[in-house]
């Protein structure tokens, strides 16, 4: 079994059609009212799949943890009756960019930490994943994740007549029985190498320090002036979290039916930038002030989780910067911190 094969564009269509016949498929689909923009959604037919797309608003983690997820239904009888709402159907997630593969892997690690989260790993176990390579835009800064393959079963790279397909796992190899592939020729391998090289060149944004140094800088400095400047521009809208592939916070609420006799427990994506995120019983809010919340996001991504997992909890996908309608850019702010730290060292 070669580890690299070629699938023509037509063959990809047939492959996706067969995948859909086998079970649900989620992938990037063009937004019906906003042509040119893709979102991850269930794909009904192969022509809906938009394999070459720029970063989606919401990352593919929604396949495993939807933004609003009912966990179980309850009836307030004596004793109360609880009906779990567990999904059991296997599915295929298609068209995941390298940065988002990294995001899924990071969430695996975060949710596996004791006390482990129960719903995420079960959902992950149901899915096969097909990755696809992409071209960065001005918001991307995915140096560390841009060549990653970990976390997918097959990986597609666009080449002249279709895709070069790398077989990453046995599940991936097994999926190939649904497809017509041909052997990869030297031209195809060259095409793919050129794609990767161009991708590397297109990444122009970047944090100008090693992850370790950046963590030290954040730990040692206070930067309160900078946080306050950013906070003046920040809406506390949470979009930088609700679009982030590595953010894992959620809120849990019970929703009652009108008669207060039944309802469901639902969890929703939460954000540390929202004013009431750190509000606790008794009315105390330990990050009531906006600049403290702004700082918290950088501390989470680049300091606390770096110390815990040995890498920043950021894939470089740039979604937070794209989504920020205040144009607070994660690379710019990070570099500003680094510059101020280095400036104060010299003076």
């Amino acid at each position: 079994m070669p580890t690299e094969v070629v699938m023509t564009s037509k063959a990809v269509d047939r492959f996706v059609t067969r995948l859909i016949e086998e079970g649900p498929v989620m992938g990037p689909r063009e937004r019906r009212k906003q042509p040119g923009f893709a979102k991850f959604d269930w794909i009904e037919s192969a022509d809906e799949l938009m394999l070459q797309y720029t970063t989606t608003t919401v990352p593919p983690k929604k396949a495993f943890f939807p933004p609003r997820q009912p966990l179980f239904e309850f009836e307030l009888t004596v004793p109360p009756k609880i009906t779990p709402l567990e999904e059991a159907t296997p599915f295929t997630l298609v068209g995941v960019h390298t940065c988002d593969l990294a995001g899924l892997n990071m969430l695996d690690d975060a949710y596996a930490k004791e006390p482990a989260e129960a719903v995420w790993p079960a959902a992950r176990a149901r899915a096969r994943i097909i990755g696809v390579d992409c071209m960065p835009d001005e918001y991307c800064f995915c140096f560390d994740t841009c060549a990653g393959r970990e976390g997918c079963d097959l990986f597609f790279t666009p080449i002249e007549h279709g895709y070069l397909v790398e077989v990453i796992t046995e599940a991936g190899e097994d999926m190939l029985r649904l497809s017509d592939v041909s052997r990869a020729r030297e031209d195809d391998l060259n095409d793919a190498r050129n794609f990767a090289a161009e991708k590397g060149q297109r990444i122009t944004a970047g944090i100008r320090s090693s992850a370790g140094d950046f963590a030290d800088i954040l730990e040692e400095g206070t930067f309160e002036d900078l946080w306050r400047e950013i906070a003046e521009r920040c809406y506390s809208c949470g979009s930088c979290n609700t679009t982030c592939p590595t953010c894992f916070c959620f809120d849990i609420n019970d929703e009652f039916d009108l008669g207060l006799t039944a309802g469901r427990r639902v969890r929703t994506w939460d954000s540390c930038q929202l004013q009431e995120f750190a509000l606790v019983a008794g009315g105390h809010n330990f990050r009531r002030i906006r600049w403290q919340r702004v700082r918290h996001r950088w501390h989470r991504k680049f300091l606390y989780l770096y110390r815990e997992f040995d890498h920043p909890y950021c894939t470089g996908c740039g979604r937070c910067s794209r989504a920020c309608t205040a144009d607070i850019n994660i690379v710019d702010v990070s570099n500003e911190i680094i510059e101020r730290a280095r400036g104060s060292e010299q003076s």
Binding site: F37, E232, S236, G238, T243, L258, T261, Q275, E276, T325
Partner: protein, 277 residues
Amino acid sequence: MARESAIPRFGHKPQVAFFDFACCEGCQLSVLQLEERLLEILEHVDVVTWREAMTEQSSEYDIAFCEGSITTEEDVERIKDIRAEAAVLVTLGSCASTSCHNELKNQWSMDEVLDVVYGDDAGQIHTIASRPISAVVEVDYQTFGCPVSLPEFVKVVSAILTGQSYEPPNEPVCVECKRNDYLCVYEKGEVCLGPVTRCGCDAICTGWGDACQGCRGLMDSANIGAMLKALTREEAHSIMRTVIDRHQLTEGEIAAKLRIYNNWPEFTLEEAETDDD
């Protein structure tokens, strides 16, 4: 079958009345559009007064849904009477809860307003600056939206029936927009008031691809200063660059956009500079 759980709170199946003050009555119409959901609600309450939906009327009720802003001296007396009768008073929609765009009239003197609108017939009308109902009487539950956000209306009804409080969400529309995975209208080069507007409508407008106009009013600690900065910045990355260049809004124009739904109490740009600490 504990289907009649609201009864312990009121001692009987609660009686509901709808009242309107200065408004377009669009909120009442919206409630009628609940259809199936409305029938479900009607299993738990008796509607005794609802001018827009029935001819019968009653002067006794437990729950009063009040739509519209207070804009005359007569309104002030009437809402006080309603408050005296109702065990629970709910403001229905933005006119009632924030004064909505009725407050646009507050930028002129009341004499001018009377003269322009009624001319020689102004004598009988005792107009006052438009204000939300909460500026006159105590309000138990508030719903927002122009017209009222139906998901919130249902939540509030459920809260009333089960004896719980309802705190209007203090998060911007962006939160619901993202939870629905809608495309941000800024990415299409448009300006949206979602980042400063109280959510609770499930981002219905951005879901249809339109910008949020802010009809639910500003959230608490909305950062208006941030909006002034975001839309007038010199340096910006491509998405916001496109928005800034295309619209070229001045601070005054941004403020005017915000004022359409948010002028009670009148906000000033100076205030907008303050942080939430």
